[in-house]
């Protein structure tokens, strides 16, 4: 291992740690309202509020690219079934905090949780 290698590794660890830390702080902020936005092929498919007791019927998104089954249970959102080859969206698990997202690349399905902060009513997550 040479000097430049060490610089590269240290820089990357610092960069990644700082951004992870910033993300964590952001996600633990108090949001008065959370909502879920499901986008399919870049267009908004469905938007709904999310709180601790949100339970919904499974949302089935079917396009010519394929099918994703989205479940909302106890205020958490997850993709429980998909017919894409990589199954990355299913393996990603459950999300419940603003800024988190689930992506199914082959089907171009994106599920994002957005938050509204208490002080101004403006959506603080940039698009």
């Amino acid at each position: 291992m040479k000097s430049f290698d060490k610089i590269i590794i240290v820089t990357l660890i610092v960069l990644a740690s700082v951004s992870l830390f910033a993300l964590k702080i952001y996600r633990n902020k108090d949001f008065s309202k959370k909502y879920v936005q499901i986008k399919v092929q870049g267009e908004i498919y469905k938007t709904f509020d999310l709180n601790k007791s949100t339970n919904m019927d499974d949302i089935i998104v079917t396009t010519k690219l394929g099918t994703n089954v989205i479940k909302v249970k106890d205020g958490k959102v997850g993709i429980i079934d998909a017919d894409c080859p990589d199954q990355i969206c299913v393996k990603s698990g459950w999300i419940d905090r603003p800024g988190e997202n689930l992506v199914c690349l082959p089907h171009k399905v994106v599920i994002e949780i957005k938050g509204q902060s208490k002080d101004n009513g403006i959506d603080i997550i940039s698009h």
Partner: protein
């Protein structure tokens, strides 16, 4: 192009393809979307140290084109091409800037990172959503691990490559 060189490039492409297929058979724990070992990158690193930028680009484009034919999914072509080109140029630059201060390990870590950046860029274009860049910090950690592994393997491979007289005059 000399015949010898032509043959060697073909062998490298074939090896990269085999590694690509072998990798798809290895089950990897799910850490973050897109995280994988990147075994084909061994060939990219070796080629970058044996030939130059141009031939490496040729090898990587051939590999991507052929692996797309094998897997049969054209959708992944854009991700692979952007990831591949990003990583080759990044590795070439860091090798040039670092000169003898940077070893294979650092070069291949940079390659792994920029492969991820390229793929996420492609993905964010496809789904028109910039927020998936938030996966990058986690992928950085993964890349350090996989980059070190790929770098170490390439180092041993190069030692043996250098023994073969054939390559001295290329």
């Amino acid at each position: 192009m000399k015949t010898k060189k032509l043959v060697f490039i073909s062998i490298l492409v074939a090896q990269a393809l085999v590694l690509f297929i072998v990798e798809s058979m290895i089950p990897v724990p799910f850490i973050a979307p897109g995280a994988k070992l990147g075994l084909s990158n061994i060939i990219t690193v070796v080629s970058l140290y044996t030939f130059g930028l141009g031939d490496t680009l040729l090898i990587i484009l051939l590999r991507i084109f052929l692996s797309t034919l094998f897997t049969g999914s054209v959708v992944t072509l854009l991700y692979s091409i952007l990831g591949g080109i990003f990583s080759v140029f990044a590795m070439f630059l860091i090798k040039k800037i670092g000169k003898d201060k940077v070893s294979l390990l650092g070069v291949s870590i940079i390659g792994a990172i920029f492969h991820n950046i390229g793929q996420i860029t492609a993905a964010s274009i496809v789904i028109s959503n910039i927020n998936i860049f938030l996966y990058l910090p986690v992928l950085f950690f993964v890349s350090i691990g996989t980059g070190l592994f790929v770098g170490a393997v390439s180092k041993y491979l190069l030692i043996h490559f250098k023994k073969i007289n054939l390559f001295n005059n290329m």
